[in-house]
């Protein structure tokens, strides 16, 4: 069950033709011995998704040279993206409700660890690896100004570990495995954050560590209680047995522990205090990476537990989770947006905006209908794109201006027009202007609220997006109308600017061509609401 066991079984059993789609199950078994000789790598993609970055991380440490380590990390990241895209393609080809089940080391699911990939986590995997790749491309140039070059290789190792953890949480079908990968990603994330330029980075990382560990331990506790009730850790198995057990006090406490634990990692409103500091003082690229992936994966975990493990009848009809999450989501949407308006540092403002956007996603979850959940999941994707794009823009500003404070951005609209243009584009998407990705997710959330018969909620969603207008436009006004400081300013380096534009043009593209995002998200939503995975 442990990571080490996984690794060992992975390497030993690589030849054991261990890929089983449900239908092929029996035939595979028979052919297992025959196939022993030829290793069919394409069947082991789910394991490679995790093993590749995990093995590359120590390799980065051995390489020691910044450029080499970066090259390796870039390569592995891109490889992971290719794998996850392939997996998504395969899952979608299986049709509605299809899933790939991979048995680690060839052990059968309820006993062994299963990697189970359906429309939902294939989608999340693409986001994690995709964002990771794009941000990695921007990393070396931005990191130069924040970390001594001779320590870069450590950064890349931690980065790859973090990606491993996030991808692992997403891909696994085993509840305890989620905890293990969560801790891998968290520990490396703490290390990444502490590499920031100021001493505040370390205190922020410490604060995050304390809260994150409490969150992780609560999750562990919840999983333990579930195991106590059902005697299994496999998610598919859990949901079946839990439905038989029904609602009792242990299940309620388990749900409470899991929701509380994940909410800390997710930075849901009253548990968000670590996030603004961590995002503000971390190196710019770390923020771009974590903002788009860490909270998103936590959201995925919440969705997975609430819908796949507990199921809608148990979580909503009997345990009334929506009565807790709806108010918190609304508080996040309004409260965090209001705080964002008064921030003096733009990076911090965007961090607060993230807290607000998490509110939208949780709102979609709490609505628990198809449109709402689709909205939440689409927003997961869209927000990942726009926020990491915006934080990369911040990286440009930090590099050229040496600061992301609002007053230092005066006149930057004229001095760095391309960078500023990217900011405006991302901002519009954040507001939810039509033809941008942000509009698509808001549209589904509003529809979800109306379908649930809660029109004041629909109005609240839209009103709160007006607050986004306020905090984005505050920046635009300063950057556009204030007299710039004197002195020459070079345009931002292309190696950061191009990734930023790729992400932000992505928000434009996915605002127009929504068949991929909405199609996958609504398929996932139907899957989740339809009961067991």
């Amino acid at each position: 069950m442990s990571l080490f066991a996984q690794l060992a079984s992975l390497t030993v059993q690589a030849g054991n033709g261990a890929h089983h789609s449900d239908a092929q199950h029996a035939a595979q078994h028979a052919a297992q011995h025959a196939a022993q000789q030829a290793v069919n790598w394409s069947e082991h993609l789910p394991a490679l998704q995790i093993a590749l970055p995990l093995l590359a991380a120590p390799l980065c440490v051995l390489l020691r040279r910044a450029r080499l380590a970066w090259g390796l990390a870039m390569l592995v990241s891109a490889g992971a993206l290719a794998i996850s895209l392939t997996l998504l393609g395969r899952v979608l080809a299986l049709g509605e409700g299809g899933a790939i089940s991979y048995h680690l080391g060839g052990w059968q699911p309820p006993w062994g660890i299963e990697y189970r990939i359906d429309a939902l986590n294939a989608f999340v995997l693409v986001i994690v690896t995709g964002i990771s790749t794009v941000v990695m491309a921007a990393t070396p140039r931005s990191l130069e100004s924040e970390l001594p070059r001779e320590r870069h290789y450590l950064y890349y190792a931690a980065y790859l570990l973090c990606m491993t953890g996030l991808a692992g949480i997403t891909i696994t079908g085993d509840a305890f495995n989620i905890f293990v990968f969560l801790e891998i990603s968290s520990l490396s994330a703490y290390a990444l954050i502490s590499m920031g330029r100021t001493r505040r980075a370390v205190t922020s990382a410490y604060q995050y560590l304390v809260m994150g560990t409490i969150g992780g331990t609560f999750l562990l506790l919840g999983i333990g209680l579930l195991y106590m009730v059902t005697g299994t850790l496999n998610i598919a198995d859990l949901s079946e047995r839990l439905a038989l057990v029904g609602a009792n006090r242990t299940v309620l406490v388990a749900l409470a522990c899991i929701v509380a634990g994940v909410s800390i990692k997710l930075a849901l409103f009253p548990l968000h205090v670590w996030l603004p500091n961590a995002y503000t003082y971390a190196p710019a690229v770390v923020t771009a990476f974590l903002a788009a992936t860490a909270t998103k994966v936590a959201y995925y975990v919440l969705v997975r537990f609430v819908f796949s493990v507990f199921g809608t009848p148990l979580a909503f009809d009997e345990l009334h989770l929506d009565a807790l999450l709806l108010p918190l989501a609304i508080l996040a949407m309004f409260g965090a947006s209001l705080v964002a308006i008064y921030q003096a540092d733009v990076k911090r403002m965007l961090a607060w905006s993230s807290v607000a956007q998490i509110g939208y996603m949780v709102l979609g979850l709490a609505l628990a209908n198809e449109s709402g959940l689709t909205g939440g999941l689409v927003h997961l994707f869209n927000h990942a794109l726009m926020k990491s794009g915006l934080f990369l823009v911040m990286a440009c500003f930090a590099l050229r201006l040496g600061s992301t404070r609002l007053e230092d951005l005066a006149g930057v609209g004229h001095r760095m027009p391309l960078t500023f243009g990217a900011f405006v584009l991302g901002g519009l998407s954040l507001i939810g202007v039509p033809m941008t990705a942000g509009f698509v997710s808001k549209w589904y959330l509003v529809r979800g609220a109306l379908e649930a018969g809660m029109w004041p909620l629909a109005a609240a969603i839209l009103l709160s997006s007006l607050l986004a207008v306020a905090y984005i436009w505050r920046v635009v006004e300063v950057a556009w109308f204030r007299e710039p400081a004197t002195g020459d300013l070079r345009r931002a380096p292309l190696s950061i600017l191009v990734p930023a534009w790729i992400l932000l043009l992505g928000t434009l593209y996915f605002g127009l061509h929504t068949s991929f995002t909405v199609g996958t998200a609504s398929a996932a939503a139907r899957l989740l609401l339809g009961g067991t995975p």
Binding site: V446, A459, S465, L466, W473
Partner: protein
């Protein structure tokens, strides 16, 4: 259907794709203008040629298509399942497109004269954003469903923001904040909600003759929905969401002229008219009582804005409040929801456009020639600038509604509309004399705020003249001598004023086109 290569289908698929091409046209123009930014003469020629060719395109390709009987539509893209960016030609939109593209020609000429005469900076950005706003206006005109309309509506808001804040001063920044705050605020908070709600209730947002909402929800819900549409369309400047329009007057005059008298504000009232006619349907309006309360809200806006206009000394501010008042006529007519009233309000879109753009052109010409912007400073200028003030007089008479100028027709039909509202809806049949009274009172107020300008300009005595009278004439600034603005600033108002005159005689053409929309 869902995707469309840019040019391929335009040649083969009939007139439908031409609608899309008409929207892309100004965008292409904007691109060319941007490329020519270093050569001001080429840039301004390109800008003018784009406007000219666009109008020619609309007249030669789209107008005949609109007269034909077939359904002219084009799907650009299916953004979300069932939510398509769709263009569809119908008479109201055709009229709006003709007006917007036609007046753009004169405005682009005027803009050259004004911007150079006034020595404005960032002229390329100005021209680009202008073209983008026109593309947005055409998109609104041709929108085939509320979603498409909303998309282009927001596009207009964003593309006009740099125009409003063009000066880059503290005042411009504050006005820009108000502008964006109100327009985007109302549209996101109300209009988008109305859009989603409509979708939720009817399962579609297509503009359909006779409306799509009848019987879909209780009168209370539909009333709320109507309120969301009416107030969510901030560009229609219905009180209390009108403050952005006076604020936008900080923009250079060509912007105030074309955008804040024609394209932007008309996009707003056009939205309201279109929603009432094609989403609610006239019958439903009577059923839910929208013909009462919305008409009164409009009537209130009409009168109170006119009163504010009386008190403004700044000419552009006075014109802005006059615009608010006149826009309310259009909402008023649509809200009454009778054939005559809707016809009147649709006509008023065109009539007011010509009248008000003339007035703004004149205000800009005065500013360029004399750097004066207050009504009280205009004394005697009428004799110095006879062409400018001649045009101003014609425009003002058209706004007031005096024959033989275009504005008289729209007011005539609106008045008719108030009288037959009882026949269509209530049991009575006496019409609504009180509403007719409001219309007349508002016209009187228009006389009150426009005539003083003319009277002061022609018959007042200028300060300089008073000084000169003792000393006799000297220099080239002799008494009674002409001191007009540059030709490019004077010609446009004269042309548009003549347009007001022409519209009186050719109104019949428009009425025929529009009747097709109202009597399906």
């Amino acid at each position: 259907m869902s995707t469309c290569p840019i040019l391929g289908p335009f040649l083969s698929e009939g007139p439908g794709p031409a609608l899309f091409l008409a929207i892309l046209w100004p965008l292409a123009g904007a691109l060319l203008v941007g490329l020519a930014s270093r050569l001001p003469n080429l840039r301004d020629t390109l800008s003018f040629l784009t406007a000219l060719s666009l109008f020619a395109f609309v007249v030669t390709i789209i107008l005949p298509a609109g007269r034909g009987s077939g359904d002219v539509s084009h799907d650009i893209l299916e953004v979300l399942p069932g939510l398509t960016l769709r263009l569809r030609l119908e008479p109201l939109g055709l009229l709006f497109a003709l007006v917007a593209s036609g007046l753009w020609i004169i405005t682009s000429l005027y803009a050259v004269g004004y911007m150079r005469g006034h020595g404005e900076k960032h002229q390329t950005r100005f021209a680009i954003c202008f073209a983008l706003a026109i593309a947005g206006a055409l998109g609104v005109a041709f929108a085939g469903n509320v979603f498409t309309l909303f998309v282009f509506y927001e596009a207009i808001t964003i593309s006009t923001y740099p125009l409003v804040t063009h000066a880059g001063t503290e005042q411009a920044r504050r006005s820009g904040r108000l502008y964006l705050g109100i327009l985007m605020g109302t549209s996101v908070a109300f209009l988008l909600l109305a859009l989603a709600w409509t979708w939720h209730l009817a399962g579609t947002t297509e503009f359909t003759p006779g409306g799509i909402l009848a019987g879909k929800a209780s009168p209370a819900v539909l009333t709320a929905l109507l309120a969301l549409y009416a107030f969510g369309t901030g560009k229609a400047a219905l009180m209390p969401f009108h403050r952005w329009l006076p604020a936008a007057m900080v923009a250079p005059t060509p912007v105030s002229a074309l955008l804040h008298a024609v394209a932007v504000v008309k996009a707003g009232v056009f939205t309201v008219v279109k929603v009432i006619v094609y989403i609610f349907g006239l019958d439903l309006m009577h059923e839910i009582g929208g013909d009462q309360w919305l008409a009164w809200v409009a009537a209130f806006t009409m009168l109170s804005a006119a009163c504010v206009a009386l008190s403004k000394d700044n000419l552009k501010a006075r014109l802005a409040y006059s615009t608010i008042s006149q826009l309310a006529y259009i909402v008023f007519g649509a809200a009454l929801a009778t054939d005559h009233a809707v016809l009147g309000s649709a006509l008023h879109i065109a009539m007011h456009a010509f009248g008000k753009i003339t007035l703004f052109f004149c205000a800009g010409a005065i500013l360029v020639a004399t750097h004066k912007s207050k009504v009280s400073e205009l004394a005697g200028l009428g004799r110095r600038m006879p062409f400018t003030f001649g045009a101003f007089t014609l425009g003002a008479f058209s706004i007031i509604g005096l024959p033989p100028l275009g504005g008289s027709w729209s007011k005539w039909y609106l008045a008719l509309g108030t009288m037959d509202v009882g026949d269509a809806g209530d049991a009575g049949g006496s019409g609504r004399p009180l509403m007719l009274g409001v219309l007349l009172l508002s016209s009187l107020l228009a006389v009150g705020y426009l005539m003083p300008v003319i009277v002061t300009a022609f018959f007042g005595q200028a300060e300089e003249d008073k000084q000169h009278s003792g000393h006799g004439s000297h220099g080239n600034q002799s008494e009674g001598g002409l001191r007009e603005a540059p030709l490019l600033c004077v010609l446009p108002p004269v042309v548009s004023a003549l347009g007001c005159l022409a519209l009186f005689y050719y109104a019949d053409e428009l009425v025929t086109i529009l009747k097709g929309a109202l009597l399906p």
